[in-house]
């Protein structure tokens, strides 16, 4: 197990990416609250974090959970407009976005992050892979598995 770096380092290296992705996911106005919730949750969990190899992916996963919580709490249509609707229509996903996001929230972490990064933040596979610290193929696979599971859940 690698030693945990001082949390300040984590903040220096990843706060801008977390903020950018949250702004994309929930809009500028709400990004601030989600940013606070994300990093407070990260700070709470940090001393017990076992795997330090992908701190960025870990943070982005928390950020997306917070974005999903935010959408669920507001109970309003999530921001990721066109993309999600098109995908939903094509894939026969249900219209109600809150139910969709709830199902996304219930996915295993990697799949959840892949789906959220693809449809929430509109990232291409290569960047999802970078965020999750895996190969583009693995990212594609997580996304595929996640979508398959969502289809099943929401059918």
């Amino acid at each position: 197990m690698t030693a945990l770096p001082p949390f300040q380092t984590v903040l220096d290296e990843h706060s801008a990416a977390v903020m950018a992705i949250l702004q994309g996911a929930v809009g500028r106005d709400s990004a601030e609250d989600c940013f606070q919730e994300t990093f407070l949750a990260a700070l709470r969990a940090y001393p017990k974090l076992g795997d330090t190899s992908n701190l960025r992916g870990w943070l982005l996963t928390i950020a997306h959970r917070k974005a999903i919580d935010h959408h669920r709490a507001r109970g309003r249509t999530p921001v990721p407009v066109a993309e999600v609707r098109e995908a939903a229509a094509e894939d026969g996903l249900p219209e109600r976005d809150s139910a969709l996001w709830a199902a996304v929230g219930a996915l295993p972490p990697k799949q959840r992050a892949a789906v959220a990064l693809r449809y929430g933040s509109d990232l291409p596979h290569s960047e999802i892979a970078a965020a999750l610290g895996c190969s583009p193929e693995a990212a594609r696979r997580s996304l595929h598995e996640g979508l398959k599971r969502l289809r099943k859940e929401l059918a």
């Binding site: 949390f7 300040q8 801008a16 001393p47």
Partner: protein
């Protein structure tokens, strides 16, 4: 955007402190000898890094030995910085700061606590410190305790000399030890007492 994120980070640190999630707060401070690194916990001042010590290494050590929840939070160190500034200006002869002793233990900590009682402008020998810590013969160990002092300056290990009056050693380098003793009026500018 950078400024927006910086503001968010400020807010985050205030909330982290309020919620008990800021285990180690640190800041840098200027001194006549170069930049110092100051770190505190909720108990008190836990570490001072001297100018010749590597700040990143020191922070990594704090993360491993105290808690990885280490954040730069200058405001949390305001009082420490204020007292150090006064000390370097020759206007403070006794620090009034809560200390966190957790980075030392056993004999070493007893030596450091004895050092902490040496008054401003006075010196003691390593032998005396060993005796005060309960083992007069452990002079070398007393020297090691001085060398590993996590809170130099405030715990004044620079006031400990060899029995012969020679300076001995100093974590921040001998010129700094000499400078501090000159500041306190123990030595004149030529290094003679």
């Amino acid at each position: 955007m950078t400024t927006a994120t910086e503001k968010s980070i400020q807010r985050l640190k205030a909330r982290a402190a309020a919620e008990g999630l800021l285990d180690v707060a640190y800041a840098t401070a200027d001194s006549p000898f170069g930049p110092l690194l100051l770190a505190r916990t909720e108990r008190g001042l836990v570490r001072i890094g001297l100018p010749n010590q590597d700040a990143d290494e020191l922070l990594a050590d704090l993360a491993a030995r105290v808690s990885p929840r280490v954040l730069e939070a200058p405001r949390e160190l305001d009082e420490v910085r204020r007292e150090l500034d006064l000390y370097f200006a020759g206007k403070l002869d006794r620090f009034d700061l809560p200390l966190d002793w957790r980075l030392s233990s056993g004999f070493r900590q007893r030596v450091l606590r004895a050092i902490n009682r040496i008054p401003y402008g006075q010196t003691r020998s390593y032998t005396e410190m060993a005796r005060k810590a309960g083992n007069e013969r452990a002079v070398r160990a007393a020297g090691t305790a001085c060398g590993s002092n996590p809170i130099p300056l405030v715990v004044p290990c620079h006031r400990v000399l060899r029995t012969s009056g020679a300076l001995g050693g100093y974590g921040g380098g001998l010129p700094m030890k000499q400078g501090l003793l000159e500041l306190e009026g123990v030595l004149d500018g030529n290094g003679a007492s």
